[in-house]
């Protein structure tokens, strides 16, 4: 009973999130982001992603040692992304990271498709 009155006069713990700022931890894993310049199109992230979010899209041709090689860049369908960060760990060039943004509700699905990487090369 005593405890009840003590809690009654303390500040309630409910966070006023929709009105106040969202309190998120520093290491929070939110929406994926890519730096198109650093990305070399190696395709490791596509192989390792558990939710098959990433698909490599051919972007143009590149001459390496006389042979024509397809140049590929990743496209992320963040609709199915589970923010696990495995691609971030396995990307040798540090082109991927997870932001703190988590408000991903949208009315159309393809607004979540991120093809930033394609734009740079073409």
């Amino acid at each position: 009973m005593g405890e009840m009155f003590r809690t009654a006069f303390q500040r309630p713990v409910t966070k006023d999130y929709p009105f106040g700022a969202p309190q998120v931890a520093e290491r929070f894993r939110g929406k994926l982001d890519i730096d198109p310049v650093k990305c070399t199109g190696c395709g490791v992230c596509e192989a390792v992603c558990p939710a098959t979010v990433i698909t490599m899209i051919p972007v143009g041709k590149r001459k390496v040692a006389g042979r024509e090689i397809e140049n590929k860049r990743p496209v992320f369908d963040l609709y199915t992304c589970i923010s696990c960060g495995q691609c971030v760990d396995d990307c040798r060039f540090g082109a991927l990271w997870l932001t703190h943004e988590f408000e991903l509700a949208t009315t159309d699905k393809n607004s979540l498709v991120m093809n930033k990487a394609l734009k740079v090369v073409v």
Binding site: M1, M4, F5, T7, A8, Q10, P12, V13, T14
Partner: protein, 322 residues
Amino acid sequence: MNALQIAEILLFPGLTFFVWLAFVFDWLDRKTSARMQGRVGPLLAGPHGILQPVADFFKLTSKEEIIPEYADKFVFLWGPPLFFAAPAVGTIFLPVAGLNALVFDPYDLLFILFLLAFSTLMAAMLGYASAGRYSTIAIGRLVVQYTSFEVPLIISIITPAVLAGSLSVEGIVVAQSHYWYILFAPISFAVFIIATLAELEKPPFDIPSAKTEIVAGWMTEFSARSLAYVKLTKNLSYVFLSALAVSLFLGGPSGPVLTQASTLQNLLYLIYFLVKLFAVGFGIFAIRTSLARIRIEQAASLFWTILTPLSLLQLGIVIFLR
């Protein structure tokens, strides 16, 4: 019955005043129990969420009413307004603004007892009419609980009547003008409060509407309009019973009166009445948030083995004292 009396019954100290009080009580109940649990409670409808119960009521009445196939149509439709009538009629006998109630009748205490029994009967009728499996089980529990708490309730109501020597609420209030009956009969005040908890199905006695076992108990099948009425009636009987406790044990609106002017006097009486009412209300909120729900046979044994002899003992003392 001139226009003023009708206006008094319908408007100020009568129906609308108590319905408004019912909404305020519901808001207070939700707000304080939320604060005690570290939550914030209703916040958005109106300043500090005070209009939340009103918003709930009107939202419910606008929803579509679903009547179960096996339900007894007539009782299901006309039950809730009747159920609402029980505490609404009871409020007329309680003196609120001024020492005399709206309707004076030497034996109105007996009528109030009938009203209490009537509201539980109506609850049983409604639950049984909705013919759901959960409501039939809930009715069994409701009747067991009612029969167990009714005897101590009646005894604890009779003690102030014996003290005041009259069977009318107004008579009791007048007799308490210089010392309240709670000093003489504290046990029956406690028994009365516990019995009101059981009548209103508040924890620890919310067994008939135990949401974790039998969904919403006898209220499971109610939807829009009837659910709104049933909820309002529960809040109204909450106010009615605490007002009854105030008039029987805490001397109703009586209190030190400074001036002779009757309107100012009535205002003062009103303020005393409201202060005591909210005090009793807070007491019940505190008890409600701090106890778990006990099982039906434990509730029955609690009432029969502990509360009934206690209130009989109290009645004996009062008769001896008198």
